[in-house]
């Protein structure tokens, strides 16, 4: 409240400023006012004080009052006139200020992307002050982003969770993870303050727009991509141009295509027809040939991982059934070098195309089956992407329950528990390397070679570690056993017993015998007595953490055992 007073703003405005300026409370060394207060840094507040946006907000406020006044006086005309000339503000300077370099912006892009993707699927609502325009903007931005990632093959990992689909891309060394909700109508919850969300969204939209601009600029593509649904003539122009313009413009058309195609799924929207119409004009430009061109003239400086990603689905042609999540797959498959078509209008090739190798289907049974292609469930693609190999399709065939979908973000060794299927995949990976290795010749494979070796190394090391662990455990058990034996032997001779640290007195009079574990525990705890309080607390906390982890692993193992017993 002190801050509010010194800034002379109300709480709402203060919060808004904090959000767009990225100012957060700090943890002071000494909490003068007590524990239940929020402390902002004085410098932060004075930083806010000199913010031109503050002045702008005040201006807007007074302007609003004018409008209010006009309305109250029933002067509709004036109110309307005033409303058309409202002062606006821009956030670009703030973005520059918060993220002085592009890398900084990329680093903080996670939340931004997640939010924009979420709002792209929200229904517009008057009550929450969420306009259709913003939803569309979010949609456009997210498609632009996806188009870029897909075009540069920067996508690394995909994970389908209950919450949505997680994607991880790597741009300029930054790992960017974002979550897109499933393409199902989202519901509004009441316990959410939309004002805050929208303020965040406002900032994020601007940030993402600038980021996209920069990214497209780096590809020499004009931003925003001209694929305005209303300008059909322009789209035709694009198509005409695409034949002979250099790579940059070709990139552009592909972008356009990707965008248009992904947006074509918004069937519920009225303008989708227009887009579809426009799509028809554009599609010929996105023939496989164009894609191949793109791949061919791609720069040489790509790192190996990108290369690997790019060539994963290189010679495969996919066809998506109507019921599979098209948006996601249209993003993922081209990102890994695949060629895609789908059931519906504007598809680049039809279902009866002979060259289709994989048909993605999510139904219990397929109707008409072509023998020349494999019918797989969409999970196969995600698993292939995460494993970076083409997995065998038997388990993913139509009508079967696919094997468990595992998170690519988990380090199984650190977790202490490796699911069965992860091991299967690992084995398959190793096998794939071996298959690939003997093949002579192609430069790509040569490049992959060290990587393979690396993988193998990792594998062997992991196995080794495991083996060592088991060995150690065995040794421990053995030792314990020996000790117990020794105890029994030396139990009667009291004086000799003193030699061993872990010994129990074997006196006849003694009734309560402290067990060995107790004593071992005591000896282990002994040094903790001598620790300072701070260290002891830290130690305890760490112990608790370890215990929790091991408990959860134990629980999972127990469940597995039970399941096996049931079967």
């Amino acid at each position: 409240s002190q801050a509010l007073k010194s800034l002379q703003v109300n709480l709402n405005l203060f919060r808004r400023l904090c959000i767009v300026k990225g100012i957060f409370p700090r943890e002071p060394k000494k909490k003068v006012k007590g524990n239940h207060h929020t402390y902002y840094h004085v410098k932060d507040i004075s930083f806010l004080q000199h913010e031109p946006l503050l002045e702008k907000f005040r201006e807007i406020k007074t302007y609003q009052k004018k409008v209010q006044k006009a309305k109250a006086k029933k002067n509709e005309e004036l109110a309307r006139l005033l409303l058309t000339r409202q002062p606006t503000y821009k956030l670009d300077r703030l973005i520059r200020e918060r993220y002085p370099t592009f890398i900084d912006a990329l680093r903080d892009l996670d939340d931004c992307l997640t939010m924009v993707h979420l709002f792209a699927v929200l229904p517009a609502s008057d009550r929450e002050n969420l306009e259709v325009k913003r939803v569309h903007n979010c949609r456009r931005l997210s498609h632009e982003w996806q188009a870029y990632i897909s075009r540069t093959h920067a996508l690394r990992k995909v994970f389908v969770s209950v919450k949505g689909i997680y994607y991880q891309a790597e741009l300029e060394g930054q790992k960017i993870t974002w979550l897109t909700p499933h393409a199902i109508q989202q519901v509004f919850t009441t316990d959410v303050d939309f004002g805050v969300l929208l303020t965040f969204l406002e900032f994020y939209e601007t940030l993402l727009a600038f980021t996209n601009f920069k990214l497209y600029h780096s590809l020499n593509v004009k931003y925003p991509p001209i694929l305005d649904s209303r300008l059909e003539a322009l789209a035709a122009d694009l198509y005409a141009l695409s034949r002979y313009i250099d790579a940059s413009s070709r990139g552009m058309t592909v972008e356009a295509k990707a965008d248009a195609s992904s947006s074509s799924q918004s069937n519920d929207r009225a303008e989708s027809e227009l887009r579809l119409a426009q799509l028809q004009h554009q599609l010929p430009s996105s023939e496989p040939g164009a894609l191949m061109h793109l791949v061919a003239d791609k720069e040489v400086e790509e790192d190996e991982e990108t290369r690997a990603c790019k060539s994963l689905f290189k010679d495969l042609k996919f066809f998506l059934s109507r019921e599979v999540p098209r948006e996601s797959l249209l993003f993922v498959l081209p990102a890994f070098g695949g060629t895609v078509s789908w059931e519906g209008e504007g598809a680049p090739f039809k279902e009866d195309d002979e060259s289709i190798t994989h048909h993605i289907i999510d139904k219990p049974s397929a109707g008409h089956m072509y023998l020349s292609r494999e019918y797989v469930q969409p999970q196969w693609i995600y698993d292939c992407v995460n494993a970076r190999i083409i997995l065998p399709t038997e388990k993913y065939l139509v009508g079967r329950i696919p094997p468990p979908h595992l998170s690519p973000f988990v380090d199984n060794e650190a977790e202490g528990y490796v699911p069965d299927y992860a091991e299967t995949i690992k084995r398959l990976q190793a096998a794939a390397r071996n298959d690939v290795l003997p093949l002579p010749g192609v430069g790509k494979e040569d490049l992959e070679d060290p990587q393979n070796l690396l993988y193998a190394g990792v594998m062997s090391r992991a196995e080794e570690a495991e083996a060592a662990k088991t060995k150690k455990k065995m040794a421990e058990l053995e030792k314990q056993y020996h000790e117990e034996l020794k105890k029994e032997v030396t139990g009667s001779a009291v004086d000799d017993v003193a030699a061993a640290p872990v010994v129990e007195g074997g006196d006849g009079e003694e009734s309560s015998v402290p067990d060995a574990a107790q004593i071992a525990q005591d000896t282990a705890d002994m040094p903790t007595l001598m620790m300072s309080r701070k260290k002891r607390k830290l130690y305890d906390a760490m112990k608790i953490g370890q215990k929790k982890k091991s408990e959860s692993v134990e629980r999972i193992k127990q469940r597995k055992k039970n399941l096996k017993a049931d079967q």
């Binding site: 100012i23 969770s161 329950i401 979908h405 009291v494 002994m526």
Partner: protein, 757 residues
């Protein structure tokens, strides 16, 4: 030719007039609401008719009329005609009236009817006429063009011409021949229909009224409506809605300002015009700047350091694990029982996410908490203080300090060797004899026993009525006597263990002869009495004794009672059978006392919070005060060297004081979860121990170096368990064997244990 024309003209005229009258009728019908006007017009016509009527009655009059007055009638009709084709403006009206007048003056001769109306009336009539014309001008039937096309010009212009004007084809219309006045009069007289004829000067022809027309005129003269079927008294229809009019209609005339352009508006317009000319008002919208541009153009500028505080990037969200998959392995899904167990948990402990399994991608529903989670993340981002925290990624075991190996620190007591059983109540206190051969114990059942240490044989038993609080063996080897605190009494017992010589000495000592004079104040507190039952000395105090301690010389012993100031601690001198109070006032209730092992006069008293060191010989204030920082001190022991002190507290903490070093504890160990009941130092080995209500005893290695610069070394050695808890009490006392590294512990389970190395 001309005749023909004139005939035709005549016809025309008759038709015209007919039409006119009809239209007049129509107009009167049409304009019922405008009653006043109607009346006026009818009045005017009435005049006309009146004239014609008089004409018809007799001619002389009409003659005179035609002679003396100007005949207006035709003029009137004419002008009416004209006006019907033209407009109704005031200026015109005036001019036509003028013209009429002129006309009248000129054509005095050529009249058939010769009517007369005063010229005053004329003007009125004219104006009325005009109005009527204005009214009826909307009827299209009147629009038949007149024969003459000269328009509204004064007819006098054509006075001298042969023609009266031009017809529609542009040919001249010649004037009719002027008849002789006499002839015309005669003709008129002959013609029976003459009274119905009217001369139209404008077209220069005569018009004959039909019967119907004359009837019409007659009715009008009577003041009736021109048409017979018109009902002037039709019921009144009130068209005005009175529903919501609270005020009567104003009869005030419309103000003028409503009809003239506003001055202020004009001024405003001028202002706007000027503003536009100056460029203050712009009509075209400002050019929209591009929304996005290359924000991070060159990263060279970014090298400059930001002036602001360091930016702490927000922590990234936790990445999802296997269990969040839509199709996790089966072992990640909790069973039904586990889910039920989650329901019983506290809100905070409950796992946030319960894994679910969907067999296909299409069956995944929308995640209902998506918005909520996004919102929570937003809240975290802008409301949570961000701090950079260093995460220690180390093995917790590495935090433990390296201790010297316990093997090197041997011998120390680590296992139970003997148990001394015999007491029926909790053993509250033990005390080994200085030779190490015997051990005395006091119990809550009121018995004091002496045991042989090596064999565990109970040598002697004394039974008292009250619970024994504390036993203490005299530190002198040749005086095997025992001080026992029982309730308010301090009993000195002869153990009868020594040789005969010693026995003699003891008996002498314990014989209460003539007691020396005591201070009055002391006498009020303490009284020395012989003990009848066991033949010792009983020193009766005024309060319950909680602690007894011998001076190392064996002559003095101190007793602690829960009383303040100087009365809480008394010091008895056995050889003199004398008692002293503490010479110094003391704050707080004393808990236990100690005689300094090396320095004779030093006396250490522990109150609940602090430890004070006094010099009894100098009788001055406390020379040292040790701040323990503990909540409640329960026990205290001093290193045989005399410089180090350990203090046990009821919160389970033990403090080691280096008295030379500081008044603050050198080390505080929190080893027991429950109250520490006693702490003890070994007399010769570098060992000390603590025992607690949690029925454990700790043995520590506590080495004090002779080099003052070196800190004492404290190493925990062993946790001694074995006692069982009874009535919430564990180990009540512990003492070291004076020679061997053995520890005696007295448990509330009425067992004394000996721990050996």
């Amino acid at each position: 030719m001309t005749k023909k024309k004139s005939e035709a003209a005549n016809e025309d005229q008759t038709r015209d007039t007919k039409k006119k009258s009809v239209s007049a009728v129509k107009s009167s019908q049409k304009e019922k609401p405008v009653l006043a006007k109607q009346v006026k017009s009818s009045k005017e016509e009435e005049d006309l008719l009146l004239d014609s009527a008089t004409d018809s009655d007799y001619d002389g009059d009409s003659l005179s009329g035609s002679l003396n007055s100007d005949d207006f009638d035709s003029d009137v009709f004419d002008s009416e005609d004209d006006a019907s084709q033209k407009e109704t403006e005031g200026g015109d009206k005036d001019s036509s009236e003028d013209e009429l007048e002129l006309h009248g003056n000129e054509d005095s001769d050529d009249d058939d009817e010769g009517e007369q109306v005063d010229s005053e009336n004329d003007e009125e009539d004219g104006s009325d006429e005009e109005r009527e014309v204005a009214e009826e001008s909307d009827s299209s039937e009147d629009e038949v063009a007149p024969r003459n096309t000269v328009g509204d010009v004064p007819l006098e212009w054509y006075k001298d011409e042969k023609h009266i004007g031009y017809d529609i084809t542009g040919k001249k219309i010649t004037k009719k021949e002027k008849q002789d006045k006499l002839d015309s009069f005669l003709a008129n007289m002959d013609d029976s229909k003459n009274w119905r004829k009217i001369y139209d000067e404008y077209n220069d022809e005569e018009v004959e009224l039909t019967k119907e027309e004359s009837k019409l005129i007659r009715r009008m003269l009577k003041g009736e409506a021109p048409h017979a079927d018109f009902d002037p008294y039709a019921p009144y229809v009130d068209w005005f809605k009175w529903d919501d009019a609270i005020h009567p209609l104003s009869s005030a005339p419309e103000p003028k300002r409503r009809f003239i352009p506003s001055k202020w508006e004009a001024k405003k317009v001028v202002k706007y015009v000027r503003a536009i000319r100056k460029g203050l008002i712009k009509f075209d919208k400002p050019e929209e700047e591009p929304n996005v541009y290359l924000l991070w153009g060159d990263d060279s500028a970014s090298d400059q350091k930001s002036k602001h505080l360091t930016y702490i990037p927000p922590p990234k969200l936790k990445l999802p694990g296997h269990e969040e998959s839509y199709n996790p392995s089966l072992e990640y899904i909790p069973t039904e029982e586990e889910k039920a167990a989650y329901e019983l948990m506290y809100e905070e402990d409950r796992p946030k996410f319960i894994p679910k399994r969907f067999t296909s991608l299409r069956s995944i529903p929308a995640y209902e908490n998506a918005l909520k989670e996004s919102f929570d993340r937003c809240l975290d981002l802008y409301l949570c203080p961000r701090v950079r925290k260093k995460r220690i990624n180390i093995d917790p075991e590495s935090l433990k300090p390296k201790l010297p190996s316990r093997k090197d620190l041997r011998p120390y007591p680590n296992s139970c060797y003997l148990e001394y059983k015999g007491h029926t109540g909790a053993v509250t206190s033990v005390s080994p004899d200085c030779s190490g051969q015997w051990i005395a114990s006091g119990s809550a059942d009121g018995s004091v026993r002496i045991w042989e240490v090596e064999t565990g044989r109970c040598l002697k038993v004394w039974q008292f009525k009250e619970a024994v609080k504390c036993v203490a063996w005299n530190p002198l080897p040749d005086f095997p006597i025992l001080a026992v605190a029982i309730g308010q009494d301090l009993v000195i017992l002869n153990t009868e263990l020594g040789t005969d010589e010693e026995q003699q000495k003891i008996e002498e000592l314990l014989r209460l002869g003539t007691l020396p004079e005591q201070d009055e104040a002391v006498a009020a507190i303490v009284s020395w009495l012989p003990d009848e039952t066991y033949g010792g000395i009983k020193i009766k105090h005024f309060k319950n004794i909680s602690y007894v301690d011998w001076h190392p010389r064996g002559d003095y012993l101190s007793a602690v009672m829960s009383a303040g100031e100087t009365r809480g601690v008394v010091i008895h001198q056995l050889s003199m059978h004398k008692t002293q109070r503490l010479p110094i006032k003391m704050r707080g209730l004393p808990v236990c006392t100690l005689f300094h092992p090396t320095h004779r006069g030093m006396f250490i008293i522990a109150t609940k919070k602090n430890v004070r060191v006094f010099n009894l010989q100098k009788r001055e204030l406390a020379i040292k005060k040790l701040e323990t920082g503990l909540r409640e001190i329960s026990s205290m022991a001093i290193h045989p060297g005399g410089d180090n002190l350990i203090v046990g507290s009821k919160e389970g903490k033990m403090c080691w004081f280096d008295m030379d070093l500081s008044s603050k504890p050198y080390k505080t160990l929190k080893n027991h979860p429950k109250d520490i009941t006693n702490v003890a130092f070994h007399r010769s080995y570098p060992l000390f121990a603590s025992c607690s209500e949690d029925s454990t005893a700790y043995v520590f290695h506590g080495k004090v170096y002779s080099d003052l610069n070196e800190n004492p070394l404290i190493v925990p050695l062993e946790i001694l368990r074995g006692h069982s808890t009874s009535s919430n009490r564990g180990v009540l006392d512990c003492k070291f064997h004076p020679r061997q590294p053995w520890l005696f512990t007295a448990g509330a389970d009425s067992v004394i244990k000996l721990y050996c190395h």
